[in-house]
Amino acid sequence: MSNLLEAAPPTRRRRVLVVEDDAVNRTYLRLNLEKWGYQVLLAQSVEAAQHEFSQQGRDHFDCVISDYWLPDQTGLDLLRWLKIQDSSLAAIMLTADGERKLITESLRLGAVDFLEKPVNVQRLQAAVDRASNQTTRQRHMVRSESAMENLGRTQRWMVHAAEKQFVELCFHPKFEAGGDFLAHFQINPDSYGCLLTDVSGHDPQAAYISAYFHGIFRGMTLRAAPLTNIFSYFNDFLVNEWNQSDKLRTTNTGGTSVAAAALLVDSRQQTLSLLNCGAPVPIQVLPDGRAQLLGETGGPPLGWFPDTEIQATLYPISGGSTVYLWTDGLADLAEAQGVHPLCLAMALQCAGKNAAQLPILRRATDDILFAAVYQPDAGVEVGLLQPLIVADYPGDQEDEIDGLSAGWRRSLKLALPDLTEAAEHDILLATRETMINAMKHGCRGEAHLTVRLQVSYHRLRHFVRVWVEDPGPGHEFDLTAKAENLAQVLTDRHHGLIFITNLAQHVTFERNGATVILDFHL
């Protein structure tokens, strides 16, 4: 728990409610308790105790000491009633007969101790101290949990406030509140800003820093400050102020850091300005469904170095495109489970409010935030062809194809759990054939050349589209002639093409076959 939320120690005298019908015992208890510094209120029956409790109010008493045998009801009846009124209040039960069943039931109802009469004074003092301390701890915990719940609720509301007509997101903080945050806001009728942040740590302090940065970002953006200035300003703040203060640190390692990716989109100029410091590389999907990585690596997060290179990049953008952003909680969980992050994101999106029930999400060790930011355009279906896999593979990985294929299978099964065995077979086998061909011929088996694989799913028309692009020149071929030849002659060549064209429902060859596009209807 963060030191910022720790409660101050109690400054008042502790209060005990003593419920005892025997006058001698009552006095004996009162005198001892007062001697130890407790403020004591007395009751002779359950009804009187309930009246006293109701009069003083919840949280007034720190401990209740009750005899078991009382004139109207038993001490257990009182415990049962108190548990409903204030489950944090600890109680001590007194009785002349230490019956096991009675002890068990008392403990179940929240009694922290059970003392036999005649009461030993040392045992009484230890018991009442223990009970009062437990009440204090319980109340503090309830207050802290309540504060965390409030904070978490506020954060979820603020994040989901960004979820408007053109923003779709999944947000799963590891605890009630955390450092992942997303904001999306209109700057003027032609442009909007979007900021994704991931602050180190999963505590209220991380949520606070994240919200603070978002406030600065929004304010400076609306006053036309360049992205680089905003990020530089916040980096300076973290490095020179926040991380210099030992009191503000909650971790022992290097202070607070903030991975952040910001977008400024100008639909009139058709440009997207991106600044990424330490966040996973965002992806832009163009209206034709093809994905484009926006940058290479995110570089170090804010807060690490005073001289971090902070540089925005300008990309052309068109109506109907979508930018996908996520925090490394998604990437880390996907890697640990051997699946592609966008497939995990799809699974979370599909599960919606039931995502917390997904077994894979229970294994998350970090906050997870994923957002799809759509660039609207009249007449264009936005964001329907959702990317599931976007990855580059070195050309010398043909021998690793079984492992790669197993990863694609796991990913697709997670993203598309209803995929039939036949569809899964066809997609994986055709992808395998196309990838082997691209590595062998397009990359000539060389490690420095890469094959881009993209797999996307059309959310309305329910088909999977696979793109395989290699850097080679492709080659001329007559597919029909090859197919005819196979029927006549037993040959051990060219079956790869026949596989591809028969497994997919539709195949498009571009650049002499250096780009192959496969469609599979589900």
Binding site: E398, D399, I401, D402, E421, A422, H425, D426, L428, L429, R432, E433, I436, L486, A487, L490, T491, D492, R493, H495, G496, I498, F499, N502
Partner: protein
């Protein structure tokens, strides 16, 4: 991989307990060719070569190409070739590659 020679009925059966792919076929090929080429194997004793792919779930093009090399060798011996498959995807693969026109394809 299991191999079974039934000389009584003139059948040489090979049962594959894995997929027939670019990565598995390289491990299978030397053993298959050894079985076919070794004099200890009475090639003349079998007239039917049966490849049991009942446990196979996937056949890829490289696996198929290597297999066709085997098929040609068997044809040169004058023997027939029979393939048993249970998986509908594997069966379909032999159909669209037109191999069913060169051997006997039996779906279990």
């Amino acid at each position: 991989m299991k191999m079974h020679l039934d000389t009584q009925h003139g059948t040489f059966t090979i049962t594959l307990n894995c997929d027939l792919t670019s990565t598995t076929v390289e491990q299978l090929r030397p053993e298959l060719h050894a079985q076919l080429a070794t004099p200890a194997n009475p090639g003349a004793a079998w007239k039917l070569f049966r490849l049991d792919l009942a446990a196979t779930k996937m056949v890829d093009s490289v696996g198929l190409n290597r297999f066709i090399g085997l098929l040609k060798a068997i044809q040169q011996r004058g023997a027939r070739m029979q393939i048993l498959c249970a998986n509908p995807n594997v069966h379909r693969t032999f159909l669209f590659t037109r191999l069913d026109q060169h051997l006997e394809l039996i779906k279990l």
